[in-house]
Structure formats: C-alpha cells, structure tokens
C-alpha cells in the first residue's frame, strides 16, 4: 500500500503545492488581508446570529442599503445608514423583538452623558437615538440608552492576556453595573450574558483568570474562536451563561 503523503515524506511536493496556491491566489489574498480585523468581527457577529437562531429566535437582516447589507466597521457613522439583524421570539404569547448591531455607542449605566462602543450589541427594537449635541460640532451621534441594552460582546483577534481580560470587566461595569453586584439577572426571554470572544487559545494563567472572572460575574469569556470556541455558539450553546 502506498504511504500517505506528508510534509515529512514529500517536502518538495508540499512546498510546490503551497507555492502554486500562493501564486494562484496572490491578488485575492493581498486584497482581503487588508480587512482581516473586520472579517474577524463579522465572523463573531455571525456566531451570535447562529446562537440566537439556535435559541429559537427568527433572525432577519434589516435596513439594507440599495439591496446590499452594509456592515458598520467602526464607531463613526450614522446608524440608520447601516444594516443590522432583527431577532424575534414569542414567549407565552408575547412577541419580543430585539436588534443585533455592530459598533453602536451605548450610554453608561452610571452617567447619562458618557458612552462607549462595544463591538456587538443586542438592544431593544427601535431604540437607536440620535443627537447633534454630543460633539463640539453639529455632527450626528447615534446611541442607545442604557436601559435598552440587553447584552453585548467584545471581540478580539489576539491571544488572551491578563490586561485584556480585566479591561472587559471595566466595560461591563460601565455598561451593566448591576452585573458587578448581581450574579444572575432574570430577563425574559433570555439573552447570552455579556461576552468576551477572543481568537487565541488560553494558557495556564489566562485560563485561571477566565475561571475566576466567570465565577465572580455573569459573563462568558470564550477563547480559541476558530477551533473549540465556535462550538459554544452551536452544539455547546447550553454551556454559555445567560442573562
């Protein structure tokens, strides 16, 4: 029986295949590689859509611009010029409607006049507000009031490190201060608890920090998004903490 091919047995053939691949796709790889951080955020956005779909919600893209889905890549820009997903679920005869947005500013839960922009937010339907008094100029600022925020996700395309994990608790404190003192807030229907999604794998220290923070607060810290982590949004979704 012929031996299976491997980079150890067939190195020159392996290198030739890689070189042919690189030459064939060089232009596309170069073009798409400029948008890697957006692609990562979009991947996590898609995980969240799948999570809600698996939880029995109907999910529908909304606010298409000339028939195209327009993804908001940064906090800049007026929200009504971008698309989002609407999620709906009927619980005990009542239909609940929420929206999943990307890069939308949320009011602090401590002070009404300061805001921060998590990567992905789930908000009460039709709750985006606009003001022209936030900046020094008359530029429009889009935001959501603290009470209309259901949950949020921060996504990071790095390997986890301690400061990154603790910074997330700062955002949690600012946006959902009740989570700092109350372990499980009951809500109907349930949402995914505030989550930090990181592409890299944890090591011993960062795994321990994750364990401690998750036992202290009602949050999810998910590592290794493209390998083990992705299953948390699908077949292991039951293991994720909820609000």
């Amino acid at each position: 029986m012929a031996k299976k091919k491997s980079p150890f047995r067939n190195l020159s053939e392996f290198e030739k295949e890689i070189t042919d691949f690189a030459n064939k796709h060089r232009l596309e790889v170069a073009e798409h590689s400029k948008r890697i951080s957006d692609f990562f955020e979009i991947s996590c956005f898609n995980y969240l859509i799948r999570y809600y779909k698996n939880k029995g919600y109907t999910v529908t893209p909304q606010n298409l611009i000339s028939g195209k889905y327009r993804y908001k890549c940064s906090p800049a820009g007026i929200q009504k010029n971008f698309s989002f997903f609407e999620i709906k679920k009927k619980v005990r005869g009542i239909e609940h409607i929420f929206e999943i947005h990307h890069n939308l500013a949320i009011q602090s839960s401590h002070d009404e006049d300061i805001y921060t922009t998590p990567d992905i937010v789930i908000i009460q339907s039709d709750s985006v507000k606009y003001t022209t008094s936030y900046y020094n100029t008359k530029k429009t600022f889009s935001f959501v009031e603290s009470n209309d925020l259901k949950t949020f996700c921060e996504v990071k395309n790095f390997a986890p490190f301690p400061e990154l994990l603790f910074n997330f608790i700062g955002i949690l404190n600012e946006l959902k201060k009740e989570y700092m003192i109350k372990q499980n807030k009951s809500d109907s229907p349930v949402h995914i608890a505030p989550s930090l999604v990181i592409s890299g794998k944890g090591n011993k220290p960062t795994n321990l920090i994750r364990e401690r923070l998750q036992s202290r607060y009602n949050i999810n810290i998910i590592y290794d998004t493209f390998f083990e982590g992705r299953f948390y949004f699908t077949r292991q979704a039951g293991e994720l903490r909820k609000t």
Binding site: P7, F8, F14, K16, E28, H32, F39, N46, Y71, N157
Partner: protein
C-alpha cells in the same frame, strides 16, 4: 526554493505581512531551540525544513484563512436571506468575490487533505504545543 513564509506573505499589505512574518520568526527560533535542546523533540532534528514549512502554513491559516472562512460563513447567512451583496467599509463584495474567496479557501484545504493534515494540527497557542501536534501527526 525560497522560504515558504516569503512566498506566502509576498504582496500582502505591510501590517499583515509583518504580523505573520514576525510571529513566524519568533516561533521558528523557539522551535529550533526546543528541537535542539530537548530529547522529547529529537525526532524532528533531521526534519527541520518540514517543521519550518508547516509552521509557516499554520500561521498563514490562523491569521488569514480562518478569518476568510468566518466572513464566508456570514455571507452564507446573507445568501439564505436572498442578499448577494455586502459593503464592508468602502469594499463591495459581490457574489463573484465571495465565490473567488470560497475557491481560495477550498484550494487551501485541498493541500491539507492531500498531505493528510487536519486543521487541528494548527490549533496551538504555545510553540511547544505545535511541535507536540507535529509529533502526534508523524505517528499517525
């Protein structure tokens, strides 16, 4: 043949190429140190060129291909809702762009398949785990 890492990063934008190249150099140094100094990895001593090429491919996979796939997965969600075009910043992605991206990832996986490599070989954080994955792979 010139180093695979140079071939894989040629024409990438400076920031991404640098990120991949620096990670590769750092891990290669660590990998050579572990292979030269620890008996556990000694079976890889005569196979450093294979380790080097596989390492380059693994970083390319983790930094680029996984993100391309994640993006494609979102475009599939849009297709199911009969939306075939998407704007990301100033870039417009049409059906033909997504098709090309699909074939790019498919061609990458075809190489893995041809050489019996599971993407799980690339699931590591520490370089020593990559070497352990390689040792396990060699035993199969």
């Amino acid at each position: 043949m010139s180093k695979i890492i140079n071939i894989l990063t040629a024409k990438l934008n400076y920031e991404t190429a640098n990120l991949i190249y620096n990670e590769y150099q750092e891990r290669l140094r660590e990998s050579n140190y572990l292979i030269d100094n620890y008996d556990y990895y000694k079976s890889l001593r005569e196979r450093k060129a294979s380790v080097e090429t596989t390492l380059a491919l693994s970083i390319f996979y983790k930094r680029l291909i996984t993100n391309f796939e994640g993006f494609l997965s979102f475009t599939n969600t849009l297709h199911r809702n009969k939306i075939n075009e998407m704007n990301v910043g100033s870039n417009l992605y049409q059906k033909k762009d997504m098709k090309r991206l699909y074939f790019l990832t498919k061609d990458f996986y075809d190489i893995l398949q041809k050489f019996n490599i599971s993407p799980l070989l690339f699931d590591y954080n520490d370089t020593k785990d990559f070497l352990k994955n390689l040792l396990e792979y060699r035993l199969k």
